[in-house]
């Protein structure tokens, strides 16, 4: 099912005001309802290499698989839908590629990347993430963070060592506890949520949420929701106006209409025949 007419997608990425090059990578495959954002890390240009590999591997592999499979198909082996496994497999594939490149070429040693992948299908969003790149959601005027960072800061907040207020001033915002390409294997955090028509989803790198308060991001989406492209540019501009100390990337996705998977009588019949 082609989701080009169902999802409106706007993207914007910028090196920011301080960095000389952009280590973030973003990719979108509107037809398959797939968006990917990665924030690379590592010396010289290794960060760009890692994030670029992550987005490219995931988008091309997913496109290949989705050309003759549907995310809501049920796997006969375990009676579960294949979507989560598909996304997880591609994330692991990207992990292996980056890890091997880092192992085999000394200039890439230690490179890695954060990741947020969202797959829209059957009136749902499946999100897989690693590190401190985030997914937010604006629904019926309420703006909230969907993913929880894999970062030292978040762990400290969770364990009650510091309060979210203190976290805003913390010095070690940049330490992530999970990332793609660092270890031979990795376990992405995967969740699935129902979507509603009119929802706006925001994927962003820490260059946005470190520079702009959640409140201001929410306000911008609400005010400029009518013009997604402008909203994306505005968010990047706000991060830069506030100092732009890191690369800033945003992907905005608006759900324009329902997109149920083929669960009609025909589909059931077809499944039964198989």
């Amino acid at each position: 099912m082609d989701l080009t007419q169902t999802l409106e997608i706007a993207t914007c990425t910028d090196p920011g005001m301080v960095r000389s090059h952009n280590e973030d990578s973003i990719a979108a495959d509107p037809a398959n309802g797939l968006v990917v954002l990665a924030d690379g890390m590592g010396g010289y240009n290794a960060g760009e290499v890692a994030s670029g590999m992550a987005t490219t591997v995931i988008v091309t592999e997913m496109r290949q698989i989705l050309s003759n499979a549907k995310p809501y198909q049920v796997d006969e082996k375990n009676n579960q839908e294949i979507a989560a496994r598909l996304v997880r497999d591609q994330v692991l594939k990207a992990n292996t590629s980056i890890y091997q490149a880092a192992q085999s070429q000394s200039q890439y040693a230690g490179m890695g990347t954060t990741l947020v992948v969202c797959l829209f299908y059957d009136n749902r969003i499946l999100v897989a993430h690693l590190g401190d790149s985030r997914l937010y959601m604006l629904r019926e005027g309420k703006f909230r963070q969907v993913t929880r960072d894999h970062s030292l800061l978040q762990e400290q907040i969770d364990s009650g060592i510091i309060t979210p207020e203190q976290a805003k001033k913390a010095a070690h915002k940049n330490l992530v506890t999970k990332a793609l390409g660092i270890d031979p294997t990795v376990e992405p955090e995967i969740h699935e949520y129902p979507t509603k028509t009119g929802d706006i989803y925001l994927l962003c790198s820490d260059g946005l949420c470190d520079m702009v308060d959640d409140e201001d991001i929410g306000m911008t989406l609400q005010a400029l929701g009518g013009n997604l492209k402008l909203a994306a540019q505005q968010l990047v501009q706000m991060a830069n106006d506030n100092g732009g100390r890191d690369n800033v990337s945003v992907i905005l996705v608006r759900v324009l209409r329902e997109y149920p998977g083929a669960k009609g009588v025909m589909a059931k019949m077809f499944a039964w025949l198989k």
Partner: protein
């Protein structure tokens, strides 16, 4: 990362980051930095970079290598050193250039908190330089973290104050001491009404018909078209797709309503 800025007659030609351990300079094309000028020898000089330190060495060139006006054989490059090769100048900009911001920027880079993985990766890398670089980077991060903690949050930006409640808009912070802007409606049912632009963005118009947004930025106020077939006009002229800068006493017309933008003293 240290870099060289190549210039001739005060004109910057290019920037060369010192990413390699050995960066060669000379007239012949196999050099990392090729300067096609007869005053430059085929293999003129080399810059050896070890961690954050760069050393310049003359390779027995015909016309010699000059740093800050003094001919040198070997030289430990310092920030802002100027290397002269014939008519060309290479300015060395060290990593530690803006000492405080340099450290901060490095520290702000996202890092994975996996010392074991980092060590393993470093050990796997055959280049001793890479290994040392990783170790060095880790040490730097720790040092930076320690110093940042010691210094408290002094070097961090002050936390942004929460948007002022509507009841006390006058107390709203002024980013960069910029004067507060406001609009006054000139026509329509609410003519005479005034609206202070304290928020980073304020939307105007009717959703679905015509909407524009007024953004408050350090550079001043801007109006941008958001949706609708018709664009707003400023002083009678329709604005383009890009944000339009607003000046004191500009007259905006939007969805049939005229309003004046002005700056409060």
């Amino acid at each position: 990362m240290a870099k060289l800025i190549l210039s001739m007659d005060g004109l910057v030609l290019k920037e060369i980051p010192l990413t390699k351990e050995r960066t060669t300079i000379g007239r012949k094309p196999h050099n990392d930095i090729q300067i096609d000028n007869l005053a430059v020898s085929g293999e003129h000089a080399v810059i050896v970079t070890i961690l954050n330190d760069s050393f310049l060495e003359d390779l027995g060139s015909t016309n010699g290598t000059v740093v800050n006006g003094n001919p040198i054989k070997k030289h430990f490059l310092q920030n802002n050193d100027v290397i002269e090769l014939g008519k060309y100048k290479l300015k060395f900009v060290g990593e530690a250039a803006p000492a405080a911001t340099g450290e901060k920027a490095d520290f702000e880079k996202t890092m994975v908190l996996r010392p074991s993985a980092m060590k393993a990766a470093a050990a796997a890398a055959p280049g001793g330089g890479a290994q040392a670089a990783v170790a060095q980077r880790q040490a730097a991060v720790q040092a930076a973290a320690a110093s940042a903690q010691a210094a408290g949050i002094a070097d961090k930006e002050p936390p942004k104050p929460a948007p002022a409640p509507a009841a006390a808009p006058a107390a709203a912070p002024k980013p960069g001491g910029q004067p507060l802007g406001a609009i006054q409606l000139l026509s329509g049912g609410n003519a005479g009404k005034e609206l202070e632009l304290t928020k980073p963005l304020t939307t105007l118009g009717k959703p679905g018909v015509q909407v524009a947004v007024l953004t408050r930025r350090p550079q001043g106020y801007f109006i941008t078209h958001v949706e609708g077939d018709k664009r707003p006009t400023v002083n009678g002229a329709e604005i383009g797709a890009a944000p339009h800068s607003l000046k004191d006493h500009d007259v905006i017309e939007l969805a049939g309503v005229k309003m004046e933008f002005f700056l409060k003293a």
